[in-house]
Symmetry: C2
Subunit: 308 residues, 2 copies
DNA sequence: CTGGGCACATACCCTGAAGGTATGTCGCTG
DNA sequence: CAGCGACATACCTTCAGGGTATGTGCCCAG
C-alpha cells in the first residue's frame, strides 16, 4: 500500500477547491498528474472518492477527507513534538503571545526571565489566539501569554493579571469628557470589535460580559486583520478594552470607566506540563513572581488546571 | 517538508530492531539507503533521533517514534474507514469472529442472516481478539463475534449467549469418569491456557473466575499459536472452556461440570453504530432473533452499551 | 440544434529521489 | 592489536511523480 501524506493533501485540495484544475494550482502542480494520482489512489482503495464532470465528493470521499485531515494533523504533531523535545533538552523555550501583550506584559516577562535565568533562551512568537492554542496542542509552543486564552488538553494555566474593561471612544466623542459611563449610555452606538476568529474565546467573553448588563449592541466586526488597523478605526462608536491595552495602544482616545460591574479580564500564561523541562519551570516561576511584584493580581487564586 | 509515512516506518523499524542493519532487513531494503534516509530526516528536523555506534534512540527520537506510531495508525484508519464507507453503501458487511466460534455460532449466524436477508453480502474474517478489536476500531470490521470480547469506543455490544465453564481433562485422567468436580479438586494440576495476547480479556476473565473460588493455579501458557494446536496439548492437566467449545472442539476429552458457582462466559456480537447501514442493522436483528430462538440466553438483559 | 469553451482524461516524455552495490571506517572484543 | 561487526560514503540505476500536448465529454448561449 503506497498511501501517502502527499495523496491525502491532494484529495483534500480537490475536495476544498471543488475541482481538479483549481486544486492543481493550489498544489503548484499541473492538472494531469493530479488527476492521475487520484485515479490511482481510487484504484488501490477500490473506492471512488469523487464524481467527475461535475466534480463532487462521494460519501466515501467525505469519510476519506475527514480521516486524512486527522492523519495530516498527527503528522504535523510528530515533527512539532520532536522539535520541542530537542529544544527542551537544550534549555530553549518557544513562547507565543497575543498582539495585545506585545508592548506591555510580554516584554516585561521576557526581561524578568532574562534577569532571573540568563541560561534560558527564549524564542518569542506573536500570533492570534487560535495559533497559540494550536502551538500548545501540537508542541510547537511551550507556553503562550494571552487574554482569555483557553487551556488546551494537557496544558496548565496561570492567571497573571485580572483587570477591568474600559469603554474607549474617540477624543471628539460626546462622552469624551466624562470620566465614567454605564453601558446603557452607549446604547445605539456601534460596538467595534475584532473579527471573532482572531480570538474566539476573548470575543465571546467580552460580548457575554457586555450583554450581562442587559444591554444588547450592534456589533461591527472588523474585516481587516491586524490590531493597529483595528484600533485605528475608532472614529465613532466605541470599543471595550482591558484598561492597560487602552492606555498602551490607544493613548489619544478617551477612556471611560464603566460603572457596570463586569467580570475582569484574565491575562493567562498557558503552558505545557513542566516535567523534565527546567527552562519551562523557570518561566512559570518568573511569571508568578512578576505577577506578584507588579500587583497585577490580589495574590489570589490561580485558575483551575493551574499548577499548585 | 517532505516528512513521509515511509520515513516514519523506517525510524520505527530502527528503534524496534535496535539497529540499522536489522531494520533494513525487516524493511526489505539495503542498509545504506536506510542510513541515508534517516540522516536526511534528522537534517530536516534539525534533531538527532539516534546515537550511532552503538545505535540508541535519543530522547527526541523516542518522542518521534511515539508520535509517528499514532500517525501511522491514523493513516491506516483513513483507508479502513474509507473502504468501510464504500462497503456499507453497497450492503456488504465484514464480520470478524474468534476461532472458538468458527465451528458453531458463527456459521449459524451467517446461515440465519443469509436466510432472513439474502441481499446482504458478508465477508467473514477469522482473527484473535486483538485483531477483532482493532478491526472494529479502525473500521476494517463492521462487527465481530467473540467470547469476552471487549467493546471499543464508538461500538455497541449485544450478548447472544451466556454459558457455563466446564473443566476438560484427557480421557485417561483420574477424574475422567466423574461427572463433576470442584476447582479445589484440581489443585496442583497444570492449568493449560492460551497465550494471553491472543485474547487478553478472555484470558483475564477466565483466570479471575477460576481464582474467585480462592484456589490458585500454576498456569501454563501455550507458546504455540493456533487453537487446534492448543487443544491438542491436553494430555495432562486441565483446561477451563465454555461447555459448547469443549463439546465441539474436544469431543474425545472428558468434560467435568464445575460445582463452583462461576460467572458465565458471554458470547458477544460487538458492532459499530448501525446508523445509515441497513445491512448492519439486519445482522444485529438476525443475531438477536437467533439468540432467542436457540435459547442461548434467558431472553434477558443485553449489556451496557447495547442497542435497546 | 449547434458551436464553443471549460474541465477532466489520455499519451508520452523527463527528472530526481529512493534504492542497490562496492567499499571505507569506526569501535568493540578477545 | 587483529579481526569482525555495524554504520558511513561513493557512485550507479530505476521508476514514480511531474510536465507538455492534446483528446473528449458536458454545459450553456444563441
Amino acid at each position: 500500500m503506497s498511501l501517502d501524506l502527499r495523496l491525502m493533501r491532494y484529495v483534500i485540495a480537490v475536495a476544498e477547491t471543488g475541482g481538479f484544475q483549481a486544486a492543481a494550482e493550489r498544489l503548484h502542480i499541473a492538472q494531469p498528474p493530479l488527476s492521475r494520482q487520484i485515479r490511482q489512489l481510487e484504484g488501490e482503495l477500490g473506492v471512488a472518492l469523487f464524481e467527475r464532470r461535475p466534480t463532487r465528493l462521494t460519501g466515501a470521499g467525505q469519510v476519506f477527507v475527514d480521516a486524512a485531515r486527522e492523519t495530516l494533523a498527527a503528522a504535523e504533531r510528530t515533527v512539532a513534538v520532536t522539535r520541542r523535545a530537542a529544544r527542551t533538552a537544550t534549555g530553549t523555550l518557544r513562547v507565543g503571545y497575543g498582539p495585545t501583550t506585545a508592548h506591555s506584559e510580554m516584554p516585561l516577562l521576557l526581561a524578568a526571565l532574562a534577569e532571573a535565568h540568563p541560561e534560558v533562551t527564549v524564542e518569542a512568537v506573536e500570533s492570534w489566539d487560535p495559533g497559540l492554542v494550536d502551538g500548545l496542542r501540537t508542541g510547537g509552543l511551550d507556553a503562550a501569554l494571552g487574554r482569555h486564552l483557553p487551556t488546551p488538553r494537557d496544558c496548565r494555566a496561570l492567571t497573571l493579571r485580572a483587570e477591568e474593561y474600559v469603554a474607549v471612544v474617540h477624543a471628539g466623542h460626546r462622552y469624551a469628557g466624562r470620566g465614567a459611563v454605564a453601558l446603557r449610555d452607549l446604547r445605539g452606538e456601534t460596538f467595534r470589535f475584532l473579527a471573532r476568529d482572531l480570538a474566539p474565546d476573548y470575543h465571546d467573553a467580552v460580548l457575554a460580559a457586555a450583554r450581562s448588563t442587559g444591554e444588547d449592541f450592534a456589533v461591527w466586526h472588523n474585516p481587516v486583520p491586524g490590531l493597529r488597523n483595528h484600533l485605528g478605526v475608532l472614529t465613532d462608536g466605541f470599543m471595550l478594552l482591558p484598561r492597560s491595552v487602552a492606555e498602551h495602544l490607544l493613548p489619544a482616545a478617551a477612556r471611560l470607566t464603566l460603572t457596570d460591574p463586569l467580570p475582569p479580564v484574565p491575562l493567562r500564561l498557558v503552558h505545557r506540563g513542566a516535567r523534565d523541562a527546567p527552562a519551562l519551570a523557570a518561566l512559570v516561576r518568573t511569571a508568578r513572581a512578576l505577577s506578584a511584584a507588579e500587583g497585577w493580581t490580589a495574590g489570589t487564586s490561580p485558575d483551575a488546571g493551574s499548577d499548585a
